[in-house]
């Protein structure tokens, strides 16, 4: 399995554990608690990451199927 795939997934998992925002109650744009806004932003990053991974790391044997 492609190393790039696992490195990207490991990076996303590290970003997911945002312990530095645990007690922060700042409201982004006055509407979204920052702990929630961060994870919504992360969801978009995850989507983009999977788009890149399916382009760059798609297994060769599956291309033939």
């Amino acid at each position: 399995m492609n190393k790039g795939l696992w490195l990207a997934v490991a990076g996303l998992l590290i970003l997911h554990h945002d312990f530095w925002l645990w007690d922060n109650d700042y409201l982004v744009a006055g509407v979204l608690p920052i702990g929630l806004a961060y994870h919504v932003g992360l969801s978009l990053v995850i989507t983009l990451t999977w788009a890149v991974l399916t382009l760059k790391c798609w297994p060769a044997d599956l291309t033939q199927e």
Binding site: M1, L5, V9, L12, L13, H16, H17, D18, F19, W22, D23, N24, D25, L27, A29, G30, V31, L32, P33, G35, L36, H39, V40, L42, S43, L44, I46, T47, W50, A51, L53, T54, W58, P59, D61, L62, T63, E65
Partner: protein
């Protein structure tokens, strides 16, 4: 629409609850028509009924995979849990699922599809039996999968009954009185759940996998679109601003700090929630959906867009639940015992803050999310029983036993009615349990079910990527998973939590020995299953060289 509802209220011909009920009934009718149309495309063979002849393209695969994984849990459970615990639920399950679900589709789903199409697998038992040269795998795996599917189905049954009752309140005040005004006159859960189960059963029975995939796609579109509409309407009403932004700003102002931060959430527990989404790798109904794909490239769209779709559905629901934590949004009694009332938060706000017609459509949207998972689960129950038990053991017995088929009874094809009878039996058991456990948290019930399936993750991963896995190791892993899961489930009061020294019921969690770190039971379940699988595999015979050559092209 406001005028229609107002007119209806004034004339008292139709109450608001009755209007919502009629719209729900109309939606059910639409689904039945869809199932009927799918029947006309159904080829008369089992492969088409169970796998739609491997014909599902990227868009339909995306919608059916997403609709199947997003259950009552995603709408009713997430908003209820956000009402109880605040924003943390989004990170605990939504964003992490975006990473882990797509990873499972990528590294597990595509491989399962490849081998399934090449070697003709229909169920997980088919795959493991072939991969491990073990004809008896079904005896180990089948009962465990059924055992774990029941709580999953239960979540849907409970949520559908709760939603229908809340949203039809006022429809039948004389027939169904209730001591809570918010539920008075609503269709009771035993009736609402029953009708939902019957509608799903009908289109699954007639339409098979093709009907289920179409219904899934349709229902996923319905609940995604109506979810956004619900969010907008509730935000405007709760916030009372001139536009969406100012309304959202107003709605969040009165929410307690405990709900806009994660200050009361255990960090170690948050970390261990990462393991829960691994369950999608072993859901039998998802396994079946993977096998419907037309080609490997069909998986790309679901892998990319699944995390984005999760965000579209979860963010509005979590925000609505968080806003509901502000004083005065819900009935006062609900703040005293939030866990008891959390399943009703979304439907209560829909009822209170939208017109009956819009409310009825939104009710249909919530039920769509519930039904788009129930249908796949029902279909997969029938498929597994037909493939793994009936064909393998019962029909074989009949063909060899003196009382088996003779010239007078030549028809020995697996009877569809046998599969349907099994589905009916499991649905009936789930229905009765669902009525009995009606006050239970959909969220907590689902977490237990997901924990069990996640416990099987090491097994599916090893089967695809480790040549050293043996049939003995796999069987030992299944037994270990079932034993550890059963032990913890029993300890937790069958998922209901434990009563502490103050007499308060709390969620069941474990502590890492010698520390204050809380963890989910899924951690020891996965750990012990993995250790046992590796140990027993190292001591027992491996599959034949020919079998290994089929699954591992590079030695």
């Amino acid at each position: 629409m406001e005028l229609l509802a107002q007119t209806a209220t004034e004339t008292t011909v139709f109450s608001a609850g009755m209007i919502r009920l009629l719209i729900i009934v109309g939606y059910f009718g639409l689904l039945l028509v869809l199932g009927g149309v799918a029947t006309t495309f159904l080829k008369q063979n089992n492969r088409d009924y169970m796998l739609a002849s491997h014909s599902i393209g990227p868009f339909l695969l995306l919608m059916s995979l997403f609709g199947t994984t997003m259950t009552a849990f995603a709408l009713v459970g997430s908003s209820g849990e956000a009402f109880v615990d605040g924003i943390g639920i989004y990170g605990k399950l939504a964003s992490i699922s975006g990473i882990v679900h797509s990873l499972c589709f990528f590294v597990i789903g595509t491989r399962i599809w490849k081998f399934g199409k090449r070697f003709g697998h229909t169920t997980q038992v088919d795959f493991f039996r072939d991969r491990l040269d073990s004809p008896r795998m079904g005896l180990f795996l089948f009962p465990v999968l059924i055992l774990l599917l029941i709580p999953y189905i239960l979540g849907g049954v409970i949520a559908s009954g709760t939603v229908v009752q809340s949203l039809t309140a006022g429809a039948f005040p004389n027939w169904f009185p209730h001591d809570q005004p918010a539920l008075d006159g609503g269709v009771p859960p035993y009736l609402g759940s029953l009708v939902v189960c019957l509608v799903v059963l009908a289109y699954v029975f007639f339409g098979g996998m093709r009907g289920t995939a179409w219904a899934n796609c349709f229902q996923t579109l319905v609940f995604m679109i109506l979810g956004v509409v619900t969010f907008y309407l509730i935000a405007m009403k709760l916030g009372g601003g001139d536009d969406l932004g100012s309304s959202m700003a107003n709605a969040i102002q009165q929410v307690p700090r405990s709900h806009t931060t994660r200050q009361e959430m255990s960090r170690s527990l948050f970390l261990t929630y990462m393991l829960i989404p691994l369950s999608v790798a072993t859901f039998p109904h998802l396994f079946q959906h993977w096998l419907t794909a037309k080609n490997a490239a069909s998986f790309k769209l679901p892998i990319i867009l699944h995390p984005f779709f999760i965000m579209l559905v979860w963010l509005p629901c979590v925000l609505i639940g968080v806003w509901a934590a502000a004083p005065g949004v819900l009935p006062e009694a609900w703040y005293q015992s939030p866990i008891t009332h959390q399943n009703k938060v979304l439907s209560y706000l829909v009822t209170k803050h939208t017109s009956p017609i819009v409310g009825g459509m939104l009710a249909a949207g919530i039920l769509a999310a519930v039904m788009s998972s129930l249908d796949s689960q029902f279909l997969c129950l029938g498929t597994m029983f037909t493939q793994d038990i009936y064909r393998r053991f019962i029909r074989r017995f009949r063909t060899t036993h003196p009382s088996g088929p003779t010239a007078d009874h030549p028809d020995d094809e697996p009877s569809v009615w046998v599969a349907r009878s099994f589905i009916l039996a499991i649905v009936a058991i789930s229905y009765v349990l669902g009525i009995w456990l009606n006050g239970s948290s959909v969220f907590k019930l689902s977490i237990w079910c997901f924990s069990g399936f996640a416990g099987l993750f090491p097994l599916i991963l090893a089967a695809l990527y480790w040549r050293g896995l043996s049939a003995g190791g796999a069987q030992a892993a299944i037994v270990t998973m079932a034993a550890t899961w059963g032990f913890f489930f029993f300890q937790s009061g069958f998922g209901q939590g434990v009563v502490d020294s103050d007499g308060i019921r709390r969620p069941y969690q474990l502590l890492v020995p010698g520390t204050e770190w809380e963890i989910l039971p899924v951690v020891p379940i996965i750990a012990t299953t993995t250790v046992v699988m590796v140990l027993v595999s190292s001591l027992t015979p491996k599959p034949s060289t020919n079998t290994l050559a089929k699954y591992f092209e590079h030695p």
